[in-house]
Point group: none
Chain length 221, copies 4
Amino acid sequence: MPQQEPVDQWIQELINMGDEKMTEKQLKIVQAAVEVFAEKGYASSSTSEIAQKAGVAEGTIFRHYKTKKDLLISIVSPMMSKLLAPFVLNDFKEVLEGEFPTLEGFLYAVAVNRLHFARKHLKIIKILLQEIPFQPVLQEEFKQHIARRVIGRFTEIIEHFKAKGEVIDMPTPVLLQFAISAMIGLFITHFIILPDQPWDEEQEIRHTVNLILHGMSAPQL
Amino acid sequence: MPQQEPVDQWIQELINMGDEKMTEKQLKIVQAAVEVFAEKGYASSSTSEIAQKAGVAEGTIFRHYKTKKDLLISIVSPMMSKLLAPFVLNDFKEVLEGEFPTLEGFLYAVAVNRLHFARKHLKIIKILLQEIPFQPVLQEEFKQHIARRVIGRFTEIIEHFKAKGEVIDMPTPVLLQFAISAMIGLFITHFIILPDQPWDEEQEIRHTVNLILHGMSAPQL
Amino acid sequence: MPQQEPVDQWIQELINMGDEKMTEKQLKIVQAAVEVFAEKGYASSSTSEIAQKAGVAEGTIFRHYKTKKDLLISIVSPMMSKLLAPFVLNDFKEVLEGEFPTLEGFLYAVAVNRLHFARKHLKIIKILLQEIPFQPVLQEEFKQHIARRVIGRFTEIIEHFKAKGEVIDMPTPVLLQFAISAMIGLFITHFIILPDQPWDEEQEIRHTVNLILHGMSAPQL
Amino acid sequence: MPQQEPVDQWIQELINMGDEKMTEKQLKIVQAAVEVFAEKGYASSSTSEIAQKAGVAEGTIFRHYKTKKDLLISIVSPMMSKLLAPFVLNDFKEVLEGEFPTLEGFLYAVAVNRLHFARKHLKIIKILLQEIPFQPVLQEEFKQHIARRVIGRFTEIIEHFKAKGEVIDMPTPVLLQFAISAMIGLFITHFIILPDQPWDEEQEIRHTVNLILHGMSAPQL
DNA sequence: TATGAATGAGCGTTCATTCAT
DNA sequence: CATGAATGAACGCTCATTCAT
C-alpha cells in the first residue's frame, strides 16, 4: 500500500513559499489573466479583456504589473519552482530511503502528489508549457535553476537503484527521459488532450508506474 | 538488423499527396511563414514580416491565402496527416505481419522513420503543437479524422500481440499511451528541449524501444 | 565705476513679494516641478515623476494645486513680475536721475543685476520662455500687466535721453527693441545656448552696453 | 540703394535642395503636422489630430514616419540647414566682396532675404525654436554641422572689416553675438511676439542695420 | 497576377485626477 | 493634511486586410 502523506508533508512548505500577499484586486487580475491566457494564449489575449473579466479598470493592471509580459511572468514563473519543488528538497534522499522501502511506493506517491498539484493548477501549467518556447526568461529559469538540479536529483536516485541491481544497466539519461516521458504523457493525455474523458486515476497511475518499473527493471538472472 | 526501407516505401505515396503545385512566390511565402511562425508563434508573427522575409509584397500573401489564419492552416493541417499517415495505411497490418516478424523490429523501423520525418519538418511540427490548443479547425482534424483511426490501428496491433501472449494484460489505452509517450518524449527532448545537444540517435531509439517492450512484455511463466 | 547696490535695493522689496508661506512639502513639490519641467518641458513631464522627485505622494500635489497647469502657472507667473519688477518701480525715474548721472552707468547696473537674478532663477525662466506661447494665462499677464508698463517706462527713459540729445533720432520702439534684444541675446547665449562655456561676465556686459550706447548715440555734430 | 537679387540667387540653389518628392498624402500630413505642432507644441499634439486635419487615417502617418518624433525631425531638421544655408555658401566671401562694396548694403540684403525666408516658413521655425532644447538630434545638428561653420564664416567677415579699420576693436564673439541678437530680436519681435502688429519692414530693417553698424563702427579719429 | 499605399480597429501603456482611508 | 490605489480617457503605434493600379 503506497503511502502518500509524507511526500505531501515535505512538499507543503515549499508550495506555500511565495504565496505573497495580494490585494483583492490584484488577485482578481491574476485569476482573470490565468483564465484568458489559458483560453486564448498569451499573445492573443488583450489586457482590456483581462481587465473586464477581473472587474477592474485597464489602468489598474499596469499599476500592479509594469507590462503585460510582467503579468505573464509573475503568474507563470513561480509555478515552475512549485511544480518541481519536491524533487529539489534537501532531505529528499533521506525521506526516500526512510519512508519508501520500495521504488514503486515512492514513484506512486510522487506521481499522485504531482498529479493532484497539476490538476489544481492546470491552467497555469498550460500557459507555462505554451510560453516557455517564446519567453527567454522562462527558459533561463528552467535551464539554470530548475532542470539541472532536478535532473541531478533524479540521476542520484536512478543510480542508487542501479547500484542495488534493481535497475537495468542503460545510460541514466535515457532511463530518466523514459520515466519522465511516461509520467508526463499520462498527465498531458488526461489533463490536456482529453480533459473531459473520465478515468480511473489511481489505477492508471499504478499501471503506468508498473510499466515504467517493469521496463527499467534489471533482467532476472 | 532492423529494416527500414519497406516502411519508407509505403509512406512515400502518402507524403506526396497534397504537395500541390505552387508558384515560386507561394513557396517562398510558405517557407517564410514557417520560419516566422516557428520563431515567434503564430499570434506574434506579422504578415508584413513574412512578406518581407519572402521577398513579396504584403498584398501577395492575401492573394493566395484569404487570411493569416488560412496561411497557418494550409501549412499545418497537411502536416498532421503526413505525420500520422503511415499508421493509417490500408495494408498496414499485412505489411506488419509480412515484413516484421518481431514487434521490436517493427517499432524500431517506425520510430526511425518518424524521427527522420520529424527532423525534416521540425518547424512545422513545432507550429502544429503550439497551435492545436487554439485552432478548433486543427483540433477537429486531430480528433475526428486522425486520432481515432490511428488509435484504432494501434489498438489492433497491441491486441494482436496481446493475443499472442507477448504483451502484458493491461488496458490497451494505458499501454498505448505509455508507448506513445515514451516515443514522443524522445522526440521532444532531443528536437525541442535540447536541439543543440548531440545524441546517438540510433542507440537511444533502440534503448527506448527496448524499455517500452520490456515494460509491456508479458511476465515469463 | 558703475554702482550696483542702489539698484539692488529698490529691487529687493519686489522680489520678496509673493514669497508666500509654503509648507515644507509644498516647497519640495515646487522644486521638483521646476527641475522636471525645465528638463523635459511642461507637457512631457508627469506629475508622478514630480511627486517621486519631491518625495511626496502623487495625491499631495493635487491637494496644493488643483491641476498640473495650476502648478505650472503658480511657479512661472510670479517669475514674470519679479523679472521685470525693477523697471516698474514707482520711483524708478527718480532713482535713475538721482543715482545714475550717466546712461552707461545705469544700463550697466541694471544689466548686472538682472543677469544675477536670471542666473539664480535660470530654470524657471527657461520654463517661462518655453510655455508663454502655449499658455494664454501667461500671455495675458505678459501683455496686459507687464509689457505695457515696462515698455512705457523704457520709452520714458529713452525719450528723456533723446531730449537731452544723447540718443539718435529714431523711432523709440526700434531703439527699445534694439537695446533689449542685445541684452537678452547676451543672456540667452551664455545661459541657454552655451551654459558650460566660461565667460568674462563683467567685461562682456560692459562691451555689450557700449555697443548699444554707441549704436544709439546721436551723431556728433 | 541696397541690392537684393544677387543674394537671392546664390541662396536659391541651396533652398531647393532637399525638397524631396512627396506623395500628396504625405504633403498633407506634413502640412497638418506643422499646423498642429506650431499651435500646441510637439508634445501636446496628438497624431490623431494631425491625421484628422490632414484628412488621412492615423495609420497612414506611421507608414511614412516611423514615429511621431520622426515626423517632427523630418519637418524641422531640413529647415535648420535652409535657414543658415546662405552663410555657408562656398563663394560667400567673393560674392560679398564683388557685389557689396559696403558692409551696410550686404547686411541689409542678407537681412531682407532671411526675413522673407523666415516669414515664409514661420511655423516651422517656431517649432524648431521650441524643440531644440528637448531634441538631442536637433542640438547635435545645430552644434556640429551648422553653428560652427556659420560662426566661422561670420568671424571671417567681421575680421575682414576689422582689418579694414571699419569695425571697432572688440572681441569678435562679442561683436558677432551683438549683431546676431539685434537681427534675431527684430525677427522674434515682429513675427512671434507681435505677429499682428503692422510694421514698416524695410525701414525697421534699415534702422536696425544702422544701429548695429553704428554700434560696431570704429571711432573716427 | 502582383503590388504597396491606405485603412481603422485594436493594442499596450501612460497619466492627470479622484477619493476612501 | 497626506496617502496611494484606482480610474478611464487618450495616447502612439501595429496590423490584417482591401483595392486601385
